[in-house]
Amino acid sequence: MLEIIEADETSLADRRRAVSTIRDALQLHESRASFSVSLNPLEFGAAHRNRSIDYLANEQDSLEARFAVKLKELMKAKAISQSQLASRVGCSQPAISQMLNRQCRPQRSTIMNLAAALDVEPTELWPNLDVADILDTVAAVQEDSEMTQAEAEAIRRALDKPAANIPARPLPSHKK
């Protein structure tokens, strides 16, 4: 598993899966552990003993978190201020600030513009652009918008049908 993690050709997705497998084997998944003590100190120690496990400890961060770290690093390395970057990208300085502070996710188009402005590959900022596409789509379909012809026809068909006779069951609360 460590070889998979360290191999250059391993995809981010495969790397994350290998990470999770090792974490399970080492019982580093705190949420799945049955111990009464926190596993964080164990994980911290393990991370310092093994470079790969150190990688594991950081690997669980979201793409958005890693994007923010990378963007900050690149801005520092290239000595570009938030205002300068905003000007190059065509967005506002607060928008850059929000991305750096993980208050909003960059859309794919913003990733492309940032990459061009910083003269890096887009995947250096956001390793999996397919994921950015999907997230953009999920956000877009929830926006209020004009209905397409195909959407309207699909809705008419659904309204003309009887409701699905499939039971639905609410789940109890875990907090009670």
Partner: protein, 183 residues
């Protein structure tokens, strides 16, 4: 329904749940990665804040996070093009940690089924509230699914959703179903 060790529990997502989300992992397909990213990143909070989306976390009896589900609204003119704005219920995102996918073997307690069943129930309950308060809400539940995510499409069909491949946004196709009020 009998009690089972596979019973899931649903509670609305709160800020206090953030630490549990850090190790949540839906899998390695691009749509699974997107699902993980949606719940771990800022998209989920944007959806809650801007669109009033409800997001539930599903845990087992030991409190381990198994999955999440969401239910929100979008507005469209109905009938198009000049009808009044009406509400449509939409499932923005669902996710099941990969450790729990395809489990348990007993389909009656399959985690994915419990999760969807709960969201459908909440959609019916929400529809009933809208009807009682006279809001213009279509009796439908919709979602968009990646066209290559065959397993999810099949699962949604099991729960009464119909795929409408002609109605698509980027690589996602519309699936929808008519809703009854909850019994």
């Amino acid at each position: 329904m009998d009690e089972s060790p596979y019973q899931l529990y649903a509670d609305l997502l709160t800020e206090n749940d953030r630490p549990d989300l850090a190790q949540f992992e839906c899998g390695t397909d691009k749509w699974a990665e997107a699902s993980t990213e949606w719940i771990q990143g800022s998209d989920v909070w944007e959806s809650i804040k801007k669109k009033g989306t409800y997001v539930w976390l599903f845990r087992n009896d030991q409190g381990v996070l198994v999955g999440f589900g969401s239910l929100g609204f979008t507005r469209r003119k109905w009938p198009p093009p000049d009808g009044q704005h009406g509400n449509l219920q939409i499932i923005p995102m669902l996710g099941l940690d990969f450790h729990f996918q395809g489990k348990p073997p007993d389909r009656q307690w399959r985690y994915s089924h419990q999760l969807i069943s709960h969201v459908r129930y909440e959609a019916m309950k929400s529809l009933a509230q809208h009807v009682l308060s006279g809001r213009n809400t279509l009796p439908l539940l919709m979602l968009y699914v990646h066209q290559e995510n065959a397993a999810a499409i099949k699962l949604y069909q099991t729960f009464g959703f119909t795929a409408e491949p002609a109605a698509r946004t980027n690589d996602h196709i519309l699936m929808l179903q008519k809703l009854d009020l909850p019994s």
